[in-house]
Symmetry: C2
Subunit: 183 residues, 2 copies
């Protein structure tokens, strides 16, 4: 798994091959079939691991009962940094990059669990409407996408996260003063 992630990160998600994985760990490709049923099974394990990592990171990092707007900003920064940290992982988790790959029931469940986790944090901030949740995911995803596509390694969108959270909070009615003073 480690090696698979390394290859996906450096050469692209679609460039992942069994031979490349096996070679790097000093094995032959058929031996991998003792551990995974197919290549897609590797993608699937990576998919599940990505979502599990995001969830555990969130649980370890965020603190409840802080000022709602501050908490949402932390949530946004956490997700943004996690996502932009690894393009291949983000593509696997959130975009349909690999034509044949579809997550298994387990993998899908992992992604739902992560989504539920995020939902509970938003609930703590008083956000419960389904449309408000959809708005949140779209805003965050959009920022991540632009950062990855148009300024990889930079902070052109990352530095507007505070503004984004303020705008969102105002829109959905999260109380509290603005986090940011000027444009």
């Amino acid at each position: 798994m480690e090696t698979a992630w390394e290859i996906a990160r450096s050469d692209g998600l679609a460039a992942l091959t069994l031979r490349a994985v096996a070679e790097r760990i000093g094995m032959r490709s058929p031996s991998l079939y003792s551990h995974f049923d197919s290549k897609n099974a590797i993608y699937d394990a990576m998919f599940a691991e990505g979502w599990a990592d995001l969830r555990s990171l969130t649980d370890r990092t965020l603190r409840r009962a802080s000022v709602p707007r501050r908490m949402l900003l932390q949530l946004a920064e956490l997700f943004f940094d996690f996502a932009t940290d690894d393009l291949a992982r983000y593509q696997l988790m959130n975009q349909r990059t690999i034509p044949d790959f579809q997550p298994s029931e387990q993998g899908y469940a992992e992604s739902l669990a992560a989504y539920d986790g995020m939902r509970s944090w938003l609930r703590d901030a008083g956000v419960t409407h389904a449309t408000d949740l959809d708005l949140w995911t779209a805003l965050l995803g959009g920022f991540v996408d632009q950062q990855l596509a148009n300024d990889p390694g930079g902070d052109r969108w990352r530095r507007q996260l505070v503004r984004l959270v303020d705008m969102y909070c105002t829109e959905v009615g999260v109380p509290g003063p603005q986090l940011r003073r000027t444009r």
Copy 2:
């Protein structure tokens, strides 16, 4: 080109092969090299065509001098519908799905021209700050991504576009009354 688009749409962008293209039009794959230098040259032509189509569609459809908020809504709907109409096209134009592909200078110029077009429409609405433009692209892209990934063919995010435009206009200071009355 037509056939290449068809294959990319139905089987995925990465599933595009010279053989498949040639077969569908009653040719042999080597013959394609009389028209394109390489496979990536086909991707490149598709990339440029996608951006050119978006630009010409925008120029043909939008009207200047309407109410700023209305015009921005039209711009948003136009882009959203164009993008969600064809996942493969969107991936090619906006995401790094094909590991080896990088747009040529011409293709890149086409994308810049389309971006300039969008910028001029936003300028007409009084939006000029670079950060405000970045915010616009991120918001729109995020909506498109969520629609494609989580509700393909549906309208779960599409129907929140009015809300998005209102929120954006309020944030960046586009004058005029709200387009929408309730959540």
